[in-house]
Symmetry: C2
Subunit: 392 residues, 2 copies
């Protein structure tokens, strides 16, 4: 039909494809030809799911009883997450406000569907996670992107939010730690932004998807000082459960009923094997494994930041969390997409060009993911160093 001219909805053209997918497809082609490729583009932990989590998943599958759960999620899992907020953050979050979703994607879709009318604006940082823009566009909203740089650690500042807020603004989205920059938003900023939004009758959506993967800094959840933010979290990153497709949202109490209705329609319920498996995600033996992995991520970051600086990348802010380094490559290239493409073809290293995260100085930036062991990262750095040396 499309090939015969079936007109697609406008949102299809408005949703930008991920440039990294083109590079990834090319990388797979090269690998099929026998080339060795070092992957530094993939936003997925390289660790297998921890054994206690797998064991819990297997136990429920052995029963064969894999029916729908309530749309808001397995009550036991909501209770376990509530306890986790108490134990890790010292915050009381009643289970009734915790909604289990099909990945953080499901939570973002729910939050945007809940809040955004066609024409409504949503403030967000550029660079930022590309799906956020696309969820807003899918619901007819307008992503109002605010350029952020190293000066604010690539985070929104309260004065930016206040200045850019218009009568059409309906919400502001923040992420801490951020993808692609790995930086944290200071608690004072988050408090101030929440207060600005509240004063103007808007919502705050806080992406805490990379919580747990923070390396030195103290950090807390936005739930500590506000019961009326929407917090998005995920079992994919810290908990290494990407393919299980499980996340959660903490919503203001007054929205839960409507979110229940929307989730019944949008996805019925999150995957049952994943929900049972996740019951083991907060057990001490699981957390011990995850904390070892966090230490490994930290070691990778501590290796990679100076190594990349040593071959000409500018990294003005050392990332404090997640598993990304957002690097300025302008000393090496004026076109980060061409740079990424050439690097892949010539040196066999895959990275993500800045264009996937927004328009703000995208041509001067690339993102490295340290989702590989240090020897692999070292090989990547060696190849990039040679590639850069040959071009100069």
């Amino acid at each position: 039909m499309a090939d015969k001219g079936l007109p697609l909805a406008r949102r299809v053209a408005e949703v930008a494809p991920f440039h990294v997918m083109e590079l990834l497809a090319r990388a797979r082609e090269l690998e099929a030809q026998g080339r060795s490729i070092v992957h530094m583009e993939i936003g997925e932990p390289d660790f297998p799911t921890a054994k206690p989590i797998c064991d819990a998943g297997i136990r429920v599958i052995e029963t064969g009883n894999l029916f729908y759960t309530p749309a808001l999620g397995l009550p036991e899992l909501r209770a376990v997450i509530s306890r986790f907020y108490r134990e890790r953050y010292g915050v009381e979050v009643p289970a009734s406000r915790i909604i289990i979703t099909a990945g953080a994607s499901g939570a973002l879709l729910l939050a945007i569907a809940m809040l955004i009318n066609p024409g409504d604006e949503v403030l967000m940082a550029d660079p930022g996670y590309p799906c956020n823009r696309n969820f807003v566009r899918m619901m007819g909203g307008v992503p109002a992107e605010i350029a952020v740089g190293a000066e604010s650690a690539y985070q929104l500042l309260p004065e930016m939010v206040a200045r850019q807020w218009t009568p059409r603004t309906k919400a502001v989205m923040v992420a801490s730690p951020s993808n692609p920059t790995g930086t944290l938003m200071p608690e004072e900023s988050l408090r101030a932004i929440a207060s600005i939004a509240r004063g103007r009758g808007g919502a705050v959506i806080v992406d805490e998807i990379y919580h747990g993967l923070v390396y030195e800094n103290a950090y807390t959840t936005a739930l500590k000082f506000s019961a009326d933010v929407f917090v998005i979290n995920s079992f994919s990153k810290y908990f290494n459960m990407t393919g299980w497709r499980l996340g959660w949202m903490v919503a203001p109490e007054g929205c839960v009923r409507e979110l229940d209705k929307l989730s019944q329609n949008i996805y019925l319920s999150a995957p049952t094997p994943a929900q049972h498996a996740a019951l083991a995600a907060f057990a001490p033996e699981t957390l011990a494994i995850l904390e070892e992995r966090r230490a490994e991520f930290k070691a990778r970051r501590d290796f990679l930041v100076p190594a990349l600086r040593g071959i000409g990348f500018r990294i003005p802010v050392v990332p404090q969390g997640a598993f990304y380094i957002y690097a300025d490559c302008s000393a090496l290239s004026r076109d980060s997409f061409a740079f990424a493409r050439d690097l892949l073809e010539t040196a066999g290293v895959a990275i993500t060009p800045g264009a996937d995260f927004g328009a703000n100085a995208a041509e001067r930036h690339v993102r490295f993911a340290y989702t590989n062991a240090i020897p692999v990262l070292a090989e990547g750095v060696k190849r990039i160093g040679e590639f850069v040396g040959q071009r100069q």
Copy 2:
């Protein structure tokens, strides 16, 4: 925030809650008080997932390698489904057109997001599956519901589609077997409707979610005579994999690239444990189990239709598939919702009121699901018979 007056998006109010959820919540309350409730409201097979499917799921979880799959799905699973179309229907459907989704819900969301602009109309039968209306509304579209009755076996007729098609109509949705009526659309109708839509530049979305659960009639897939329909299918019903959250869509070849882009944004990928488990869904030993279960569903239908008729329900069309009976209760009550509520309170039987499926004569209809063993259904019939007898 909502409780302090955060305005929610208009679509939230437009999405109707499922009345059955209120009844289900009340049923759970009564059960918690020790009352015995016969559940005839639940649209979910009562069978556990077949062992070969569970075993395949367990095998992949034992490896711990539960990473994202490509957004379009595990290539092996797409290939297996392609082979299934060849073997079961004698139709060539290339794997490249098969998109694995997070349940049929994910497929419906993708299809509507792909096709429908705000203000576009989508033709559909009333009564029909309630989420269809809500997906259309969520994307700003207008569900244009066409009243259907027993005369057309509750299915759209080509002349209805031709008559109701307006310049704003963008697509027509059909379901065979249908939820809530269990009826099939004749192949000639489907062909004619596809031809009308094609002639007017619109799309056809065919819900084949209950395929496999058809009891005597021959039936085929819309893919047999058109490569430009969108076919939605699911592992939930025939394959008894509800909680795994897995479905698929077959799309016109020219749309796959754009659907890839949308699915990358909306859900990243369908659950990995489910995709590996589903590789075993088409194995002969699995199909043997599923065919036994189909025979059991048929026996339940053959028990329940005359039993319900015997206590005063009109069932003008014997359902040919799915696990539902759509019954006219007007000889027993003028308000099917009040009837369902009273039946639950007085007799402890839960059924679904017609209002969940549309507005067309909803007050005269209820839906029975035969997702329980015959002795349970018999107890339900006995209780309903006594309830009805006392009221007369």
